[in-house]
């Protein structure tokens, strides 16, 4: 699992590459701490290369979304594949995020 974070203007983009399973989520949660500081801006969660997500991964998505809600920012989930979309559907996450 790999996470890439880029910042362009008011937009922070997080690229998830690989499988966001339980052990991976523990690492990723740490790496995303700085991103939460920019939650007042726009955060794009890029899922083009996210192959798999477990409930602990979903938790990371939810915590970003909560932080943005508090700070008045915006969270966009981009390019989720069908498998992950179905997981989002099963958990009601489709209604929580703007999906592009």
């Amino acid at each position: 699992m790999e996470v890439k974070i880029t910042r362009k203007g008011n937009e922070t983009t997080v690229f998830f590459i690989g499988r966001l399973d339980t052990p991976a989520s523990q690492e990723v949660a740490k790496e995303l701490q700085p991103v939460l500081e920019n939650a007042s801006d726009t955060i794009i969660l890029d899922c083009k290369d996210l192959m798999y997500i477990s409930s602990s991964g979903l938790r990371i998505f939810l915590s970003v979304r909560k932080e943005a809600a508090i700070k008045g920012g915006k969270v966009i989930v981009r390019d989720i594949n069908d498998n992950i979309r179905s997981v989002f559907m099963m958990t009601g996450f489709l209604n929580l995020f703007v999906i592009e």
């Binding site: 499988r19 399973d21 339980t22 052990p23 523990q26 192959m51 798999y52 997500i53 477990s54 409930s55 602990s56 979903l58 938790r59 939810l62 915590s63 979304r65 909560k66 809600a69 508090i70 069908d82 498998n83 179905s86 997981v87 099963m90 958990t91 009601g92 209604n95 929580l96």
Partner: protein, 729 residues
Amino acid sequence: MKANPQANNFKHKSRWTGMLVLVVAALTLEATALIQFHYSRKGIREEASKRAESQLENTKVQVLDILNQAENAVRNNIWLARLCLTTPDTLPRVTEHIVRENPVVIGSTVALLPDYNIKLGLLSPYSFKDPLTGQIISKSLATEEYDYPSQEWFLNGLEHEDGFWSEPYIDTGGGDMVMTTFSMPVKDPSGKTAAVITADISLDWLTDLVGSSPVYPNAYNMIFSRSGKIMVCPVESLVMRNTFHEVAGQFEDTAAIASLDRSMFSGETGSVTIRRKRALSRVYYAPIERAGWYMSVVIPDKQIFSEIRKVNSFVNLLQAIGILMLFLILRNAARNQKRYNKLTENKDRMENELRIARDIQMSMIPKVFPPFPERDDLDISAILVPAREVGGDLYDFFIRDEKLFFCIGDVSGKGVPASLVMAVTRSLFRTISAREESPGRIVSTLNDSMVEMNESNMFVTFFCGILDLATGRMRFCNAGHNAPMTLTDAKRKLDVVPNLPLGIIPRMEFQEQEIAMGYDDVLFLYTDGLTEAENAGHELFGETRMANVLSTRRDSRGHLLALEQAVADFVKDAPRSDDLTMLLIHYVKKSPMFHARHIVLKNDIQQIPFLNDLIHEIAEKINLDESLAMGINLALEEAVTNVMMYAYPEGVEGEVKVDAFASDKSLKFIISDRGKEFDPTAKPEPDITLKAEDRPIGGLGIHLVRKIMDSVSYKRVDGKNMLTMIKNI
């Protein structure tokens, strides 16, 4: 084993009860006898009183009869005597006539008043019967030495117009004869008393009269004269010599004697009890007024009650015999009780040993149900109810290499011998079937071993089957046992070759058979203790009743409990004659499923990626769609993570085992661990419609498992958490 304290207690109790029974019986008998004695006494006393009174009455009548004869002799001749007054020398004719004509009169005189005729002076011709010759002799009483005018009979005769009986006296003239004299006045035609006329009678007959028929053997009569002189008395020396008062002085019971004296001599009729030297006597008395006599009958109480005493001693003897017999019976009962208690002790010990034997026997057969909780293709239940503490029935089953080995058997006979054969049979079955996979060979081998050691000529009916759980192929071999039933569709008996029971003929070939068991097939095996259960009317439970109970759809346990209940209701209180054993196998044939793989993980999150490898392997093996594989992977990861996070406490090492089964229609995973009891399916569903701000962070894992899998179930078995997840594909 120690003596049963209850039995001991009972022993004491029964001894006291025995004593109590004896005492109560004796008291009851004695009370009855006393009451009876009391009432008898009263009756007997009344009877005695009646007898005495009637005797007194009789005596009086007879005495008066004689006295009347004498009185009449006098009265009838008064006119003659009056006539003769003028010719005094004819007076002896009158007296002679009286004596001659009246047998009771032994002497008679007409005595002139001294001053009646100065010329004549004293004149008293006296005629009497010579006691020896019976000749009538006349003489004159007008002698100087006799001086008749001063005699009692003369004086009293003058005074009593109606006549008077003298005091009895002993006649010294003509032999020692007790006599009494009736005398009455004779008046001349002018009405002046001129003479006294008399008649003497002997009283010798009196003793004979009253003594001839005593009312009781030792009763006696006494007659007293006006002055109390004893006229009749059993003691002859007292007669005419002593008086009542002289004799009465000997009695210490002065009050009673005084009462008797007063009442009797004032002419009353009655009775009184007198004590003399501690002996009580009843005295009945009555007067003979005419003669001035007082009669009495004396009856000793001893005599009155001699009969009742006899009866009473007889009753007492009977009572004693009764009590003795009761005592013997009770003692015998007590001995029997002792013997019984000893038997009970032995029985208790044997029962205890049999209880242990029963526990051992029961531990030889599988009796935890469901026996294979992790299997959803098999629902097995069995019941064994021995008629006695231990029985000769058996059943057994186990799974080896995805094959269910099972058997049911019935040893001929019952009780301990049968139970030993049962134990041997079951052990041999386990030993042989550990290496054999053919029911025919298992049964043949079993038979040979049994024949070899069958010295007690017991045999075993036996049915053995092997069900291939993957394919539903069921091979079986019967050895004389009743045919099992198949409950699928038509309830019918399995078509089995009977063969012979085990233990009869060595090296016998047992024919093996085969059927295919399909989806939802049920096989029901039983011993004849079911169909031949007998009620008090010797009716058999029978196959119809059995089939009726089985016609309702239930799970295996439900079927057997319903049958057991039906048999109990049918048999009621009738003693169980045979062991009752039932084995029911409900087979749910799945499309063939194989145990694909299993992995054991440590309770460490870092091991989670191994699950991905497992799913990959399976997916490749059964050609699983990639997105399905990911979903299954997710569910598996969530379930395993749950265990790692919650089943084991922080810092405690543990294992999580994942068993994967696969068929072309479904996948099954069983996640098991030895952590604390933890049922993830009990968690409430999260609300996934909430806004992001309101959504809690956790709770999604088990939700995903439920969403992805078709079936999720949790069991706690043998200290293990077992989560079974099935995904249809």
